[in-house]
């Protein structure tokens, strides 16, 4: 037993001597606990508001009432802007959904026997989770509107009168017409009949015997293009991001391997400067990540019908993404001095940043401070640049921001890593 205790004590002693191992044992889980705790704390209060644009193409009292109901429901940050501007915002990824209340919306809301109010949802293809929640809020508001209508005999009477006049005006006398008018006479009595039947407490379902209270047509917002597009356009952008993450982690390990195998010492003794050595490492990482991400999108284009909106901008995005992750590689390589440490640090840093960048958990589920923090995630900007070139149809000026951020992160990270590496190796 003493031997077992001695061996266990030795392992624990070694664990606490290994600062990086200690970090991943204690502090990393703690960071993850804080990260998810903060996120779920946000969820328990309800997720942060989903940014949507709303266009009221109907402009009636009914549509205005519906918008008021949406605003009162909470959960949506509604921006009222012109349709073309709203579509641009969705395309750029600044707004998750554009909701358009179609002409006739208000009339259908006030006369559910004749028509169903129609809404068009133009959705960012990467924001399906947010779109699902918006759809829920819209249906809930429409249901509440229908319930209010059904609970108000005076509104139903007015509607009935309108419908009666329509029938009498446009339908020739017939048995069917008489039956229809009889049904109309009974409609205002529905709430009374429900109460008399003792069903008041169980018929809270707003729609009763009607169909869905709202007809929602959902479309994906992508840039106008000649060729076909498909879901691979979004999935390949994500895959290219993971290629960069994997490549940078692998290259950071390669420096750690050089260090542990002694070849780094040989390189440092050779008649080359530290600057040349670092430039070679950076160039290799840049070449490899450029090659792998280019190979991936080439496969997407040739086999999966992914059609970038701009090849020059795609090339720019690929270059800037690779520059950024080469810098990150250099930092990772000096933090992790052994292969295991470099891999651990690499993924340990990549995963939280990917989460913060919206690569794993939809951003709208996070508290606002966390969404703001996400702006420091290179993953967010890489994805934006890739998507901008592949399907969002970014212009050069729209592409400049993510590309500039990526290059800035890359240069800063490379400088920090290179300085530290030179310092480490004397």
């Amino acid at each position: 037993m003493n031997k077992i205790v001695a061996m266990a004590a030795k392992d624990i002693h070694i664990l606490f001597r290994d600062k990086l191992g200690f970090f991943f044992t204690i502090f990393f889980p703690l960071m993850m606990a804080i990260f998810f705790g903060a996120m779920f704390a946000g969820l328990s209060r309800g997720p942060a508001s989903i940014p949507i644009a709303l266009v009221d193409a109907d402009r009636t009292a009914g549509s205005a009432r519906f918008v008021g109901r949406l605003e009162a429901a909470g959960g949506l940050a509604i921006e009222r802007i012109p349709s073309d501007q709203a579509l641009e915002q969705v395309r750029r990824g600044q707004t998750a959904v554009l909701v358009t209340l179609r002409p006739g919306f208000g009339a259908a809301l006030d006369n559910p026997f004749v028509a169903t109010p129609e809404v068009e949802m133009s959705v960012d293809p990467t924001q399906f989770a947010a779109a699902g929640m918006v759809r829920g809020v819209l249906l809930e508001a429409a249901g509440a509107e229908l319930q209010a209508f059904m609970s108000d005999p005076s509104r139903m009477s007015v509607t009935n009168e309108q419908n009666r006049r329509l029938i009498e005006e446009f339908s020739p006398p017939s048995e069917a017409r008489d039956d229809l008018l009889n049904v109309l006479d009974q409609i205002p009595r529905i709430p009374v009949l429900i109460d008399e039947a003792g069903l008041g407490s169980v018929t809270t379902g707003a729609t009763g015997g009607f169909g869905p209270p709202l007809e929602i047509e959902q479309t994906q917002v992508q840039a106008q293009r000649r060729g076909p597009t498909n879901s691979y356009a979004t999935s390949f952008a994500q895959a290219m991001l993971w290629t960069l993450i994997g490549g940078s982690v692998s290259f950071s390990m390669s420096i750690a391997i050089e260090r542990s195998r002694g070849t780094l010492m040989r390189l440092l003794v050779a008649p080359i400067t530290a600057r040349q050595l670092l430039a070679a490492k950076g160039l290799a990482c840049l070449g490899a990540t450029l090659f792998t991400s280019s190979a991936l999108i080439t496969l997407g284009i040739t086999v999966f019908d992914v059609t970038p909106t701009s090849y020059p901008l795609l090339a720019l995005a690929l270059l800037c993404g690779s520059i950024c992750f080469c810098g990150i590689m250099m930092v990772l390589s000096v933090i992790g001095r052994t292969e295991q440490a470099a891999a651990g640090v690499g993924w340990g840093i990549a995963l939280p940043f990917t989460m913060l960048g919206g690569g794993m958990v939809p951003l709208f589920l996070m508290p606002e401070w966390m969404q703001t923090l996400g702006n420091i995630s290179p993953m967010k900007w890489t994805l934006m640049a890739y998507e901008g070139a592949i399907w969002r149809g970014f212009t050069l000026s729209e592409m400049l921001l993510p590309c500039a951020v990526l290059v800035a992160i890359g240069v800063l990270a490379f400088s920090i890593g290179a300085t530290r590496l030179r310092w480490d190796t004397g």
């Binding site: 195998r261 010492m265 050779a270 008649p271």
Partner: protein, 284 residues
């Protein structure tokens, strides 16, 4: 040409090298002999510019030049075989040589000639195209040494080149070092095996805890610090050991007293030199 002038290097509280001074002479194999922790590798790392001395100066100098170890021109004139095997295991032996040759500025036919010569030197011609991970430990050691001389340097620094190799491979390495000496190279050879220093080195610096205890040729060191040898004799009364500086006279004296069945003379060696200088055995 390699000069250590009152060089010291500390790591925290540990004084790894303490006031070390020596100067290499042309065409010699210079040994740094000492147990683990004596400061040999630290000295080598300062010689190649990987570490900077805290005190004193390391320089490469003769009548024509005086250069810092980090000077690029200087690095072209020295080759290092580190203590650990520093090779790219995923590529072939020949490709390792080519890569490091290119770093030293070799190109084209010059490069290929040197690669062939180094493979021959390391007796790896037949396996030159095999990946290094398939090599035995001894083959990797020989390639580790060959990489250090790919650019035909004037000075070769070998840091414990026989650590962890079998006796046969060790002999093969000794032969390569002798080849280098015969080819007119200067060699700095660190080891904690006194037989290696005794066999290979023209002069030996004995280090202990960072300090230079003695520096001279092996015979001079033994004469100065080895003390008497030991004559072991077996007679009818059993075995006895006698310290002596004149074994023949001592043997004659013993034989005059009693018939000697068997005798063996154990002359002083670097082990006894180290023991006499430090009070500890070299292997401690």
């Amino acid at each position: 040409m390699l000069v250590f002038d009152h060089v010291s290097k500390c790591f925290g509280d540990l004084r790894a090298v303490d006031d070390l001074s020596f100067e290499l002479e042309a065409g010699e194999v210079f040994g740094l002999l000492g147990p683990n922790g004596a400061g040999k590798t630290t000295a080598i790392n300062m010689a190649v510019g990987l570490l900077e001395p805290d005190e004193g100066v390391v320089r490469f100098a003769d009548e024509a030049f005086d250069r810092d170890p980090r000077d690029a021109e200087n690095r072209r004139s020295l080759g290092l075989a580190p203590q650990s095997i520093a090779l790219y295991e995923q590529i072939s032996g020949a490709d390792n040589l080519r890569f490091f040759g290119r770093l030293h500025g070799l190109r084209g036919s010059d490069l290929e000639e040197r690669v062939a010569a180094c493979l021959d030197f390391a007796d790896l011609v037949d396996v030159g195209k095999k990946v290094v991970s398939k090599y035995s430990g001894g083959m990797q050691r020989r390639l580790n040494l060959a990489v250090a001389i790919i650019h035909d340097p004037e000075l070769v620094l070998l840091d414990e080149p026989t650590v962890g190799v079998d006796p046969q491979s060790r002999n093969a390495i000794f032969e390569r070092v002798e080849q280098l000496r015969d080819g007119g190279k200067q060699v700095v050879y660190t080891t904690h095996y006194m037989e290696e220093a005794q066999r290979l080195c023209d002069r030996v610096a004995i280090l202990d805890r960072g300090r230079l205890m003695a520096l001279d040729t092996v015979p001079a060191l033994i004469t100065a610090h080895g003390g008497p040898g030991n004559l072991v004799v077996r007679t009818g009364d059993g075995e006895s050991r006698h310290e002596t500086t004149d074994p023949l006279a001592t043997l004659a004296e013993l034989q005059a007293r009693q018939a000697v069945d068997h005798f063996q003379y154990l002359p002083p060696d670097l082990e006894t030199v180290f023991l006499n200088l430090t009070g500890r055995a070299l292997r401690d």
